[in-house]
């Protein structure tokens, strides 16, 4: 079915804001609270979109560009992932590098916007975010390498699509190690516990939240949406590793992916409620451990 890739993309784009809501709801339930409604983020996005925007006189065009580029790159990256398990809307050889590069570009622009404000809080958040990204990127690439070696292909569509399904049984341990590593990377990229606590209100303990402190109105809406979309993208990467084992048709695979995303969000919620945030200087350790795990999965494939 040729419309399933586009359908999948639209579905994920629409569903993305629900994921943080599900995670927060699970976390609240596990800690004995009622928690915010699951679709709260939609309401927040609508509210922010309708509000007016305030720009500090110290900022330049970079500050206005940051959120826009962030969302555009996230949307483009979403097009690279085979959400229905067979094809992705955009595909070319080596698009895994483009995937990582696009997300990195978005982060880079957001960091520039943060530095543009000239405020020390944003600068602190930006430096922390980039430091963690430095450790998360190798882990991400090691995971991708595991998939590349497992399937022998260099396109995300093939790495996470049908060819993966064919080799799934033979390479299961490495794939699972890669998926575990990817899960930790997704926690880092979406700034959730144990790397960053989205619920903290103390600026000195924030990483991502403080970086976007100065944005307001539609800009803030774009940033919130991009965050949710990143969570959906990394979540779909993790879920694809598991779902690929089931050799099903495209619509079924899409359905499984959406269900898997909900499960992923719930898993994030569980992790958030079980663990505390790590000390800042221990976060690189965790990410290096994720790299080592993925590296070990790679070694198992290469022997």
């Amino acid at each position: 079915m040729t419309f399933t890739p586009v359908l999948g993309l639209l579905a994920v784009l629409l569903l993305a804001p629900a994921l943080p809501g599900i995670a927060n709801r699970v976390k609240s339930a596990l800690t004995g609270r009622r928690g915010a409604p699951m679709l709260q983020l939609y309401a927040d996005l609508g509210k922010s979109w309708r509000k007016g925007v305030v720009y500090s006189p110290t900022t330049t065009i970079l500050f206005r560009l940051g959120p826009v580029v962030l969302v555009c790159t996230a949307l483009l990256a979403a097009g690279l992932v085979p959400l229905d398990g067979t094809t992705s809307p955009i595909r070319f050889t080596g698009d895994l590098v483009a995937f990582a590069g696009l997300l990195a570009l978005g982060r880079f622009m957001l960091v520039l916007a943060a530095l543009d404000t000239g405020s020390s809080f944003e600068g602190m958040g930006a430096s922390r975010e980039v430091t963690f990204a430095v450790f998360a990127e190798p882990a991400l690439f090691l995971c991708f390498t595991v998939f590349v070696v497992a399937t022998g292909d260099l396109r995300l569509q093939d790495m996470l699509g049908q060819p993966l399904a064919h080799t799934w049984l033979a390479t299961a341990p490495s794939l699972l190690l890669g998926a575990a590593s990817l899960f930790i990377v997704s926690l880092a990229e979406t700034n959730r516990v144990p790397i960053d606590d989205p619920l903290t209100h103390l600026e000195l303990t924030m990483v991502h939240e403080v970086m976007v402190l100065d944005h307001s109105g539609p800009d803030l809406a774009l940033i919130l949406y991009a965050s949710a979309l990143k969570m959906a993208l990394f979540g779909s990467l993790v879920v694809r590793v598991f779902v690929a084992g089931a050799m099903v048709s495209a619509p079924m695979a899409l359905g499984l992916l959406l269900i898997g995303l909900v499960v992923y969000a719930m898993a994030v919620g569980v992790v958030e409620s079980v663990m505390a945030r790590l000390r800042m200087n221990h976060v690189p350790q965790l990410l290096v451990a994720a790299s080592a795990t993925a590296g070990f999965g790679l070694i198992l494939l290469l022997r």
Binding site: A172, P173, Q285, F296, L300, R303
Partner: protein, 212 residues
């Protein structure tokens, strides 16, 4: 589906990473206990025609490495005021990277060692990497208890290597080795307890009075 012994060996490597990366002493002991549990299941997974020797070895390993020794080590440090490892000689991040490199190295050189046929292709590399990681923990860490855990991991690695030579090394010998490990760690635990009492710290860098 992967054979069960390969999965067990995989998990052994993951517990090694766990020990390399953690800073809490109690977490380290838990990792060692988990490794003991995996090692107890390994002989049965490798030689399913469960003879009395194999079952005895598995039970013995379970008792010693997964239950008695971790419990004993936990008690040995229960009076310790500081329960965390301070930054080791080469840093935690570097330790993890070195550990991963050790695993890669072990997998690379194991086929070239031309060791005679073993039940699983992963036994020798995992054994070698565990030995290297055990030595790494033993030599680069500051706390006496971490050094004991490093020794335990070193012995675990040698135990796995011994399992690959099982037809040549009678199980009686493996039991003897197990007993020796038990006694060794037991005595070390006692000494750690005394170190903690005497120096009010588990920092082995304090043990520098004797020198020429």
């Amino acid at each position: 589906m992967q054979p069960s012994h390969d999965v067990l060996l995989l998990l052994v490597v993951l517990t090694n990473f766990w020990v390399l990366g953690t800073t809490r002493l109690s977490s380290m002991i838990r990792a060692a206990a988990m490794q003991g549990l995996l090692l107890a299941a390994l002989p049965i997974a490798l030689y399913p025609h469960a003879s009395l020797h194999i079952v005895g070895l598995a039970i013995g390993t379970l008792l010693v490495k997964a239950i008695v020794l971790p419990h004993f080590l936990t008690r040995a440090i229960r009076e310790a005021a500081v329960r965390r490892e301070i930054e080791p000689l080469i840093g935690f991040t570097a330790s993890l990277i070195l550990g991963a490199a050790a695993v890669a190295l072990a997998f690379a050189i194991a086929p070239r060692l031309e060791l005679p046929g073993t039940p699983s292709g992963m036994l020798i590399p995992v054994a070698l990497s565990t030995v290297i990681i055990g030595l790494l923990v033993l030599t680069t860490r500051n706390k006496a208890l971490t050094q004991v855990v490093g020794y335990l991991i070193l012995e675990n690695g040698i135990y796995v290597f011994g399992l690959s030579q099982a037809e040549r090394v009678p199980f009686l010998v493996e039991v003897g080795v197990l007993l020796d490990v038990f006694a060794g760690v037991f005595i070390m635990g006692i000494v750690v307890f005394h170190i903690n009492r005497e120096f009010d710290s588990l920092d082995s860098a304090r043990l520098t009075e004797l020198r020429d």
